[in-house]
């Protein structure tokens, strides 16, 4: 099974703050799954938060899926296409996924197709343990992303 596209799954958040680590955990699970299936076209990365250098990190990929914990009023998870945005955030010590792809376009003239996968979280204290409900949401998001990858990127030679 191969794909001629390069796919990056980029989880961000702080795993030391309970459900804030959902994006990181998703990237980790997809890394193991793609290794097991020998999907060399799937790449993973993670960090506490996104910043300028991520414009360079995503520039070489065709498709990028950013994964983050969400405290918004959403279902268990939500995956949506992402459009570039030059909107300046309140804190520029971290930037939004939309800003990263916007910067990538301007600086590297690269325009990967991008998605943002929100996974609903509930607790954000100084603990490593995620809540049970967040773990359940993570499982659903992982399955959704596996299907998304298998359905859109995997072809049989």
């Amino acid at each position: 099974m191969i794909s001629n596209k390069s796919l990056l799954i980029y989880g961000f958040g702080n795993p030391g703050r309970q459900d804030d680590g959902l994006g990181i955990m998703l990237a980790e699970e997809l890394r193991a799954w793609s290794a097991e299936n020998q999907f060399a076209f799937v790449h993973t990365d993670s960090n506490y938060q996104l910043n300028l250098e991520d414009a360079a990190n995503i520039a070489g990929h065709d498709v990028v899926v950013f994964a983050d914990a969400s405290r918004e009023d959403i279902p268990d998870f939500l995956m949506e296409p992402l459009k570039p945005s030059g909107k300046v955030e309140f804190s520029m010590h971290a930037v939004s996924p939309a800003f990263v792809i916007h910067l990538c376009g301007h600086v590297f003239n690269a325009h990967p197709q991008a998605y943002l996968l929100h996974i609903k979280g509930y607790e954000w204290e100084f603990m490593a343990a995620m809540t049970e409900k967040a773990k359940s949401n993570l499982g659903l998001a992982v399955e959704h992303l596996k299907k998304f990858i298998s359905g859109n990127f995997v072809t049989f030679p």
Partner: protein, 484 residues
């Protein structure tokens, strides 16, 4: 009756900051304050946890400078495990930690200069807010934006190679380090591709300084006279007086450059430094005990380090340091915008230091950890990008933390930031009937020069709301906006 104007939060500054400016009916400024409005007690949280967890646990404080907390905690624990106070580590242990630290300084200062400061310099403090950001820089000065992105990336790669991973790095452990640098990592950092090699980083650091000098020539008013006020300065210095960002003795100089803290052992920092609590702020106000609460405050960070150090031990940065000193007549600089100049000199110094270390075989081989007799207490200090960072721990019988005290860089700069805000507010707002976007940004530029990290300073976490409040002359709230 006077009126109260609130600018909240301070954009492009981490955490939740609020500036209140109180005007009288004639538009004269009565009082200006920088408020910190979030608080969670990290120091209490770590009580009862095993001491060896600290270098990893403290990285939960903040996703912006976790490496500084990682190293400061490890240095404090070096003392507790009997590995001495910074000089007792093996050559490999100390050099790997230094490389990690210079990587952190390099990426953090690069982010500040290219992302936060250069838009203000290129487009003016009262320039169009839609342009005054890195995208604006990329549109008009693409090369500068590329440099900013790649320098930041290089620093992150150094951290990854030395700390083991980007998130919750485990490289520094009590008494040393847990890995060598591999030949592959060393080769990548020394001679990577066109954009990712140490010589390119040194060249770009010099280019950034050249950009600053050119700007300075044409804009002396803002660089030399914006938010200028006398202050004492404090930092670590090497025992021979050299700039040292990783280890040394604690020195403070007064506004004239006279030593007021004489190269003391930081294990006894609490003999010399105390913190004052003020009712209107959650962030404490540190001061030198001998001088007192009123006049004992000091500035930390890149500018303070240029003012306390006598020389720099890398040739290119030393040349720049000499120019800096000469420009300021051999006296301490009190110009807030010289903070950018100082930061750029440190970027160059960090790049030179990284090259020196990457060519040192001690990184690839040798003992990693020093062992000794356990002690009940330890203090770790480091010159973090934003200034001196203090970690102090005491352990109980079961090796559990029973006391923790952290004084972070932004807390050390609490009073100077308040002074800067007041200076600028008085200058740009006095007698004006209307407060414009440009005036408010001028206040923010003064705060940004210190690169404060407010979420860390208050030991807070989570999302920080954006609020904007306007009060009328009778002190009634007439408008409030909230964003996340």
């Amino acid at each position: 009756m006077g009126q109260k104007i609130t600018i909240e939060p301070v954009t492009r500054v981490e955490g939740h900051g609020k500036v209140t400016i109180h005007l009288d009916n004639e538009g004269k400024i009565e009082q200006t304050r920088l408020h910190i409005v979030e608080f969670r007690g990290f120091e209490r949280f770590v009580q009862g946890r095993p001491f060896w967890e600290m270098p990893v646990l403290v990285q939960r404080l903040c996703g912006i400078c976790p490496v500084s907390h990682h190293l400061a905690a490890a240095k404090a624990l070096d003392v507790i495990v009997g590995a001495g106070t910074g000089e007792g580590l093996t050559p490999t242990g100390e050099k790997m930690r230094r490389l990690m630290h210079y990587g952190q300084i390099f990426q953090s200062h690069s982010l500040h200069f290219f992302h936060l400061a250069s838009p203000d310099l290129l487009f003016g403090v009262d320039g169009d807010p839609a342009k005054r950001n890195i995208i604006g820089v990329a549109l008009e000065h693409r090369d500068l934006a590329v440099q900013g992105v790649m320098m930041r990336k290089y620093g992150q790669e150094v951290i990854k190679a030395t700390a083991g991973k980007k998130i919750h790095g485990t490289g520094a452990i009590p008494g040393g380090i847990n890995k060598h640098l591999t030949e592959e990592e060393r080769e990548y950092l020394l001679h990577g591709d066109e954009y990712m090699n140490i010589d390119k980083m040194i060249a770009w650091s010099q280019d950034a300084l050249a950009f600053f000098h050119e700007y300075h020539k044409k804009n002396k008013d803002i660089i030399d006279h914006f938010a200028e006020f006398p202050s004492s300065h404090l930092s670590l210095v090497r025992k021979d007086g050299a700039l040292d960002l990783y280890h040394g003795v604690l020195r403070a100089v007064d506004a004239e450059g006279k030593k007021i803290l004489h190269d003391v052992d930081y294990q006894e920092y609490d003999r010399y430094i105390d913190e004052e609590v003020r009712s209107w702020s959650y962030m404490k106000f540190p001061y030198l005990k001998e001088i007192g609460k009123q006049a004992g405050w000091y500035t930390v960070g890149p500018l303070a380090r240029m003012n306390t150090a006598e020389f720099i031990d890398t040739p290119l940065a030393q040349k720049e340091f000499e120019q800096f000193k000469q420009y300021n007549g051999g006296k301490p600089s009190h110009k807030s915008m010289h903070m950018h100049w100082a930061r750029l000199i440190e970027i160059l110094h960090a790049a030179e230091k990284m090259k020196e270390l990457l060519n040192d075989s001690d990184l690839m081989e040798g003992e990693l950890v020093t062992k000794g007799n356990k002690l009940p207490e330890g203090v770790g200090l480091i010159e973090a990008p934003r200034g001196t960072l203090f970690h102090h721990y005491k352990i109980g019988e079961n090796d559990m933390i029973k006391m923790a005290n952290l004084i972070v860089s932004t807390t050390n700069n609490n009073q100077p930031m308040n002074e800067a805000v007041n200076q600028v507010a008085v200058k740009v707002m006095t007698g004006k009937k209307e407060i414009t976007e440009g005036m408010m940004n001028a206040v923010e530029v003064a705060i940004r020069a210190y690169d404060p990290c407010l979420s860390c300073a208050t030991h807070a976490l989570g999302q920080m709301p954006l609020e904007f409040e306007v009060y009328d002359a009778s002190n009634s709230l007439i408008e409030k906006k909230l964003k996340h």
